[in-house]
């Protein structure tokens, strides 16, 4: 595909997002929304092109976390901007920019997948996990804004709830994938233990709403949860940078 291995598309995507954000701040929101849409389109093409890194179509690199997460994040301001171009879609764009820059710095090749990792369950798992992470980060951002008084007090809560639902979906799909691939619904490995860490943390955080006097502190837990998600996921991605890769 024409975007395969052409990382200029990724760098152009980042440039579009930055320019979009600048226009948003300058209150030229419709033009900013247009650049945002362009950025998402370019990022989508770049992601799709990753499927041919091995000279044969293999979906795995498309669903690699450092590249999929910014795309999932970009859907949030995209939907907000399309529904209402003059609305406040800018804050989440900051997240998109940050994580897109991280992906631009990440190793571009493909880790050769084993037969167990080319099952369709793996793609469904990574998609739902990345979407959950995106929602958790958005929840943390709105939690931060509520702490500094720039957003409604519990405006972040629904982001965390939907992130938790998406994450639970990921756990269900992940359990099926783990079983059909490895014979266990739960694997005693850093990856699975990390996933369970995140799930129990957010399960606890969601209960804060029902503890008198703790509702306001739940914004801090939303922030802490995002830090936990970042540490668990990016420590794993950093380790994977040293794995043998092809293409890119």
């Amino acid at each position: 595909m024409f975007t395969t291995g052409v990382h200029a598309y990724l760098y152009l995507t980042v440039a579009c997002y930055i320019a979009s954000f600048i226009l948003y701040i300058l209150r030229v929101r419709r033009a900013g929304a247009g650049l945002l849409i362009t950025g998402v389109a370019l990022q989508s093409l770049y992601l799709l092109g990753r499927g041919w890194l091995g000279d044969v179509f293999i979906p795995n690199p498309i669903f690699e976390g450092p590249f999929l997460l910014p795309w999932c994040l970009s859907l949030i301001p995209l939907v907000q901007a399309i529904k209402e171009p003059d609305s406040n879609w800018g804050p989440t764009l900051v997240l998109v920019i940050v994580f897109s820059i991280l992906s631009a710095l990440y190793a571009k090749g493909m880790i050769p997948p084993t037969p167990k990792k080319t099952a369709v369950w793996s793609f469904l798992f990574f998609m739902s996990e990345s979407m959950a992470h995106a929602l958790f980060y958005a929840g943390a951002l709105y939690g931060f804004l509520s702490i500094i008084g720039k957003d409604q007090v519990n405006g972040f809560y629904s982001w965390i709830v939907w992130g938790f639902i998406a994450y639970t979906i990921a756990q269900v799909i992940g359990a099926v994938w783990c079983f059909v691939g490895w014979g266990n619904t739960f694997n005693w490995s850093a990856r699975h233990l990390g996933s369970a860490t995140i799930w129990t943390f957010y399960a606890g955080s969601l209960h804060l709403k029902f503890i008198p006097g703790w509702g306001k502190r739940s914004a801090a837990f939303a922030l802490a949860g995002a830090v936990l998600v970042f540490i668990m996921s990016y420590s794993s991605y950093l380790r994977e940078m040293s794995f043998l890769r092809v293409g890119g």
């Binding site: 084993t114 369950w121 619904t185």
Partner: protein
Amino acid sequence: MIKRIWNILGDIKISFVLLMAASATLFTGSLYAGNHYSLFNELNRLRVQDWVADHITLQPEMVWWIPVLFIIMACLGANTFICACNRVAALIGPRKSGSGFHFFHLLTPSIIHFLFLVIILGHLMTFTLGRWQTTPLKQQSRVELGEKKQMLRVQSIRDIFFPENSAMRDRIFQTTATLINAEEKEIDLQFTKPAFIDGHYLFLDKIKERKKEKLETEPAENIQDDENCNKAYVYIEKERDKQEGELLLLIVFDPGLYVIIFGLTSIMGLMIWYFVAQKMTPKNGKEG
């Protein structure tokens, strides 16, 4: 007095503390497992009580968190049960007039919590009652399966490689092992496509010979763990007729499997339904 203890044990503050304690223990465990992949990988093929009994006296500093995790989850299970029962009693007792839809919507979080208990029990069944057995798989070899000692013969093993003109050449895309049972019925096994026979699931697995020898000669806890979850090297075979990797048959008996899948799927569906339906129900300040 009993009622007071019951209410304290079912307090939602206890739920929060236990969930955070579980999260912290799992986080700690992930650090240990990340640095000792081979050691904790054993736990995927053994019942947890057998593995802990072997290792708790030899490496207590590495395995202590596993019994702690089980204790926390047991407490969380009790707390969840009590809390959910209290809530159901509060909803059913003085039930106000209202639609059945609204009542079921209010009841849904409690059902979700009971399903959480189902999932925990399913995992407990797997960890304590499951059985995992691996056996080498070679052409024309025979495998005995289950209590009925059903005999399976390996008729053929075929590897499919990625295209020769691609960067993925010499790497296995998929393997098909064809087994024949006593009734001469063919059973095909592939990676991620297990077969179910006589209460057991059969999977294909693969290991490189040199790693297998290493694991056989050294205890897992002594292996300097450069081992990790990336098994790409296992599926490279430069010489098709003299393969380095060894194909294995993994035979699994997992009594908790369907309990877990039922619980997870039901929880997922109910959560989605609850929050979508929440937009349709009038806010009365008593939800949740």
